[in-house]
């Protein structure tokens, strides 16, 4: 059979004998090695975050600044996204409920959808794009321009000052933003209901919350904390470990968004399974 890829000879670690291997196989092996070493490095990174979080000299002022940067500056984006999410979900759900003559269940159905799933996941995905890319690009450019090294030689622990504060700020701000998005989503839903009807906000909310229970609300809030941690850790990890060239900043920002979005979905899947088992 004809070889599609060039073949090279390498020495086997196991036997010491020379073996033939295609360059493609070697390339895939290197990719796999990089993938697993990346996982290992991230585990060490997370361990360092835990260690520095509980160390003395916590950078409280920087933590508050990051809360402001992440929380306050994301409000307009989350408000618009949340409201549109509510309107669209209501408009899309109405025909299906109309077929069964169950339009009165619309507020309750939308409220459960938003609070349980759509609110946290959509908000987390939007924030993975905004915060994740911001952290990846900011820390990546600080790495490239030696600012992290400058911090290190100024007797300031960059892990504590830059990473721990950002990860904690993301962890605490994402759930708050999720609640905010849920609220705006319900408001958007009320607007959506009123496009084809006339329902007061009081009646809408009483119908919506009569369908919602604590077990709908609590797991969603808990998983939002994990979404925030994932976004913060991935964004900081990619930025902090960016290469030395300027193109690494773009790579760090891009990979931070891709990986954190993917992990948000994975964490959601795990959270739903756990919630399903427990409740």
């Amino acid at each position: 059979m004809k070889n599609l890829h060039p073949v090279i000879k390498i020495k086997s670690f196991a036997t010491g004998k020379s073996v033939k291997i295609s360059e493609k196989t070697l390339e895939k092996t290197q990719m796999a090695t990089e993938f697993f070493s990346d996982i290992g490095n991230m585990a060490i990174f997370i361990k360092e975050i835990f260690k520095e979080t509980f160390s003395r000299d916590f950078e409280f002022k920087e933590f508050l600044r990051q809360c402001y940067e992440i929380g306050n500056k994301s409000l307009p984006l989350i408000a618009i996204t949340g409201a549109i999410m509510g309107v669209v979900l209501t408009i899309q759900s109405r025909p299906a409920l109309e077929d069964f003559g169950a339009v009165t269940m619309l507020p309750g159905m939308v409220a459960i959808s938003i609070i349980r799933e759509i609110g946290p996941v959509i908000t987390a995905l939007i924030l993975a794009g905004k915060i994740g890319s911001g952290m990846g690009a900011e820390l990546g450019s600080m790495k490239v321009s030696e600012q992290i090294d400058a911090m290190e030689v100024s007797a300031t622990n960059p892990m504590r000052y830059l990473v721990v504060t950002r990860v904690l700020a993301a962890t605490f701000m994402v759930p708050i933003l999720v609640l905010f998005a849920d609220g705006l989503g319900l408001f958007g839903s009320w607007v959506g209901v009123n496009i084809k009807g006339d329902v007061s906000i009081v009646l809408f909310l009483s119908q919506a919350f009569s369908s919602v229970e604590f077990i709908d609300f609590f797991p969603a809030l808990v998983k939002s904390f994990f979404f925030g941690s994932v976004i913060g850790i991935v964004g900081c990890y990619k930025g902090y470990n960016a290469g030395r060239g300027t193109e690494s900043v773009g790579v760090a920002a891009n990979s931070a968004v891709v990986l954190s979005s993917l992990l948000v979905i994975v964490v959601d899947l795990i959270a739903v399974q756990i919630t399903d088992m427990i409740l």
Binding site: S141, Q147, D149, V153, A155, N157
Partner: protein, 260 residues
């Protein structure tokens, strides 16, 4: 160190050195990806002197000073700074040592998100924690005046020229009153006039703050202006050590290619 082929240049003996050893490196080795960058480097920096480390790009000069402040961990050898073995220090002890060392980065490494004032206050607030707000303000103004940029206080780094960035970076380094200064290519990327100004500033800092300095450069004019002693690196090894006259009078082709 290699033997010179035509005219051996004597290195300065220990007895002639002016003061105590600030830095002593013995047998330093450092490599990346199976490639040895530094091969058995030994040097001493004495109190109050400016040691210029010359060498072409890729000769391991920057790696050398990054090992001194443990931004890089050496593969072998010992580094003693102010009598402390850098490689055996824990994080707290290392931070304490770093408070006595100023490091001027090649790029300046000013914090982009902070104004000039905040850049200067950042190390002060962390290293000189006992200072009052008034003392911090006075110190910031003093170092800015020393580098000739008293009016740049509220500017962002992006509003500064290359020379100004280097000056502010130098001000941020000297604001903590370091005993040792490490300069990584202080004049790279600057025009000749600004390079001369930075070289003059390095000498002023040495006199005013009584620092001992290692200046990494491939700029001969900077070396001539600042060096008490010069060490030349070639392929990761010390090629020659001496004063500026030793280098200028050398007939060795590699040294001549630098000093022509």
């Amino acid at each position: 160190m290699k033997n010179l082929q035509k005219e051996p240049v004597p290195t300065i003996s220990m007895e002639e050195k002016p003061g105590r050893k600030m830095i002593e490196i013995i047998g330093l080795k450092k490599g990346f990806n199976n490639q040895e960058v530094l091969k058995d480097i030994s040097l001493q920096l004495f109190s109050g002197e400016n040691l210029v480390v010359l060498g072409k790009s890729g000769s391991g000069k920057s790696v050398l000073i990054q090992c001194i402040i443990r931004l890089l961990v050496p593969d072998a050898g010992s580094i003693e700074v102010l009598g402390k073995d850098v490689n055996s220090l824990n994080r707290y002890e290392l931070d304490e040592l770093r408070k006595k060392i100023g490091f001027l980065f090649q790029s300046g490494a000013l914090y982009d998100s902070m104004t000039v004032k905040q850049n200067l206050e950042f190390p002060l607030r962390r290293i000189r924690k006992h200072l009052t707000e008034k003392e911090i303000k006075e110190k910031v103004n003093e170092v800015l005046e020393n580098v000739g940029l008293a009016d740049a206080l509220d500017k962002m780094p992006s509003q500064l020229s290359g020379g100004m960035r280097k000056r502010i970076s130098l001000a941020r380094t000297i604001v903590i009153d370091p005993s040792i200064m490490l300069y990584d290519e202080p004049t790279t990327g600057l025009d000749p006039v600004t390079s001369d100004e930075i070289s003059a500033l390095i000498n002023e800092v040495q006199k005013k703050y009584k620092t001992s300095s290692i200046i990494i450069t491939h700029d001969i004019e900077c070396a001539k202006a600042t060096a008490d002693r010069i060490m030349m690196l070639q392929d990761g090894e010390v090629y020659l050590e001496g004063n500026i006259n030793d280098f200028e009078n050398s007939t060795d082709p590699i040294i001549k290619s630098f000093f022509k």
